[in-house]
Symmetry: C3
Subunit: 323 residues, 3 copies
Amino acid sequence: MKLFSSVNDVSNIKQLVKDALELKANPYAFQSLGKNKTLGLVFMNPSLRTRLSTQKAALNLGMNVMVMNMDKEGWALETQDGVVMNGTTVEHIREAAAVMGQYCDILGLRSFPKLNNREEDYSEDFFNKFVKYCAVPVVSLESATRHPLQSFADLITIHETWTKKADGTKPKVVLAWAPHVKALPQAVPNSFAEWMCKAQEEGMVDFTIAQPEGYELAENFTPGAKIEYNLEHALEGADYVYVKNWSSYKDYGKVLTYPDGWMMNNDKLKFTNDAKIMHCLPVRRDLELSSEILDGPNSLVIHEAGNRLWAAQAVIKTMLEEL
Amino acid sequence: MKLFSSVNDVSNIKQLVKDALELKANPYAFQSLGKNKTLGLVFMNPSLRTRLSTQKAALNLGMNVMVMNMDKEGWALETQDGVVMNGTTVEHIREAAAVMGQYCDILGLRSFPKLNNREEDYSEDFFNKFVKYCAVPVVSLESATRHPLQSFADLITIHETWTKKADGTKPKVVLAWAPHVKALPQAVPNSFAEWMCKAQEEGMVDFTIAQPEGYELAENFTPGAKIEYNLEHALEGADYVYVKNWSSYKDYGKVLTYPDGWMMNNDKLKFTNDAKIMHCLPVRRDLELSSEILDGPNSLVIHEAGNRLWAAQAVIKTMLEEL
Amino acid sequence: MKLFSSVNDVSNIKQLVKDALELKANPYAFQSLGKNKTLGLVFMNPSLRTRLSTQKAALNLGMNVMVMNMDKEGWALETQDGVVMNGTTVEHIREAAAVMGQYCDILGLRSFPKLNNREEDYSEDFFNKFVKYCAVPVVSLESATRHPLQSFADLITIHETWTKKADGTKPKVVLAWAPHVKALPQAVPNSFAEWMCKAQEEGMVDFTIAQPEGYELAENFTPGAKIEYNLEHALEGADYVYVKNWSSYKDYGKVLTYPDGWMMNNDKLKFTNDAKIMHCLPVRRDLELSSEILDGPNSLVIHEAGNRLWAAQAVIKTMLEEL
């Protein structure tokens, strides 16, 4: 694997989940793989879980890790070609990415969308140019439209916690939109949706998305997903509820008005099959998701965050094996 | 040891000093202890000595170290329960701490007081919640009311440099308040006082605190300490003078007017028993402490800072042994 | 080598180039040298290439690396002696440097000039005081007037890419001033000039500097260099053109008016001997240097940046051998 930016970069998601759980059982078994190999983690935006879990994953594999918080350095990169750089951008991504590729065997990149131009964000121009010019394998640490390490950790968590049914019933997984005060990217829900749609194809889950009118995700991320506009209805019989806010894709980057009742809480939980509750974190308590759920037995959020480590380690291990 | 936040977390301070000096003599003897173990250092405030000495201590023990400068990331944490998080805090400490505990075997935390609410600061609410929710051993890198790694390094330095007297005379140690332009926390003097009071109980030192009226520390940090309001008098026969500024505890966080003559200099040194001069650093030259002393033979400040490494290594080694 | 701050700290530049190329061929051969040794990288200003290449160089040698981005911490250091520190500086360089020396075996320091006082900048007061007080070997990561790791990497790159001529002709190397929107230090051109003048003495290159009137570098950096004010004339027969902007030394730190035609592009390339084009990066595209060159076969800029790693590794290896 030379690139991990979406579920489409993974040849076999069942096998990758299996690899991750084997690493979880035996974290230090492959340290010779990473010996004298360096992972560079490049952040254009802040990170807590992704930074620590990916760094730890590489250390578990015997790698060296170098972290560049470029958002802290005011190191503004130019991405357009043919512009005279007489403004505020100090370096072109062609040089910056190529240079980082000179010092690292694998690079990780985080670059959030600006949320003011849908075409620009969904082109993944920045991320794709970085991949092109750095000339080494790249792991997405969340790009404008996807957060694949998160979605992979989510799939691991569902697989790990689901008890197989004699009749082969699949877990019902619901992605449920929730309120927030800020306009957030669609990266996490897009990515979760495309991983769950793929898992549905593979017979691993049944997948439903619930959101208010106007919050529909781009259709290319949701092939085969059941779409609901009524939360209670969507939650019926749910085994896993993935709570997440996102801003509008149609009215791009906007926070639209929505009916009451979209915060996940114990009243909503009653509609489910005693569902496990998931969230990528950070979570706004009692706005997206009630404290009673987060502090209760149905919450998987910390367990899920813990699995970020094994998701990252499985991906990096695969890349190391092909270096 | 699952927690190192004050002298009260140490069962035997003499033994811990002994351990630290053995590590100083043989820094790399325990690298198998830390193999595949990770220390996470979480800074809510800037750090130079504490960051470098603790990181080096963990590396000497064979650990991996991950540093999170959360103050640089504007990653504002919510600490109150039951609040609707529709404001500026992006994550609750319940999740943030628990997640960091997922990726680290031991965590270090620095969190300064705000100095505007004494009850809040002295409750150590932030630090204690972090300890509670992260669910792994925690080393204080300075909290609202204490700086135990500094105080432990101070005790090591006194023990290491004191020549035992035939008549069993103990070194006279004086904590001397000094001027500053800013309102500083009481963490360092509180902590030094409680370590010296404990050392006095153990027959290691005689301990005196000198400060102007209004600068008295909270009494629970100073059991058995001799309190003086006259600096010259306090300095008589002193073997060690620990110079430090702090803001008022009584008139909380305020810088009160004070009489002249509280800056430590060679004129004051004359009153002492050719005392060694200590300071936790950073020090304001010629405001807290004169350059003539800092650059002269009585200063221990660099030696003392060097011992931060062995203090941290002894504490982390003890925690590793109990993992 | 206890100090690497200029070409004058190197006893034999040909040998050091040879060492660097041997490390490039065999990067991990000396990991026992760095075992349990720590490199501290102290940045008073932002860094991308220098930070990553020097960190990687130390890791290749088996060292531990600790990075302090002091510019991010608002940790303002006092450098003057005898001042009462009742202002904004929080610590004196005497203590800060000495403390860092307590935790590190070798230190690297980056400190840019302020460009408002030539005497102050050219005294290298900050850098020299850091070296004096830290009491361990120091590698310059770019100081007020020099960037020796860059210049050494530049010499490696020229030596590595030059095909020896039967008649012993030396490569013609031209340092060519180029436009910029900001007032930049003279550190890179000063340093490149002094390394090339030394290489010219050693019979490795013929060296020419081309700049507009008023942009002459300080003469002590350019002994034996041919000085040109006409770019086309300077470029005639050039084998290597090192493109770089700098502000005026004479009218210190100012951006002076200059005639058109100083941006390096394909029209200018025609005057050369199909020259290789070099730049330290970051480069302002189509302002200093044309995209057509940067993206074409004559550009060495990425190769050159890659050699920063081997330059740093050769220097650190030499220091480790003498610890």
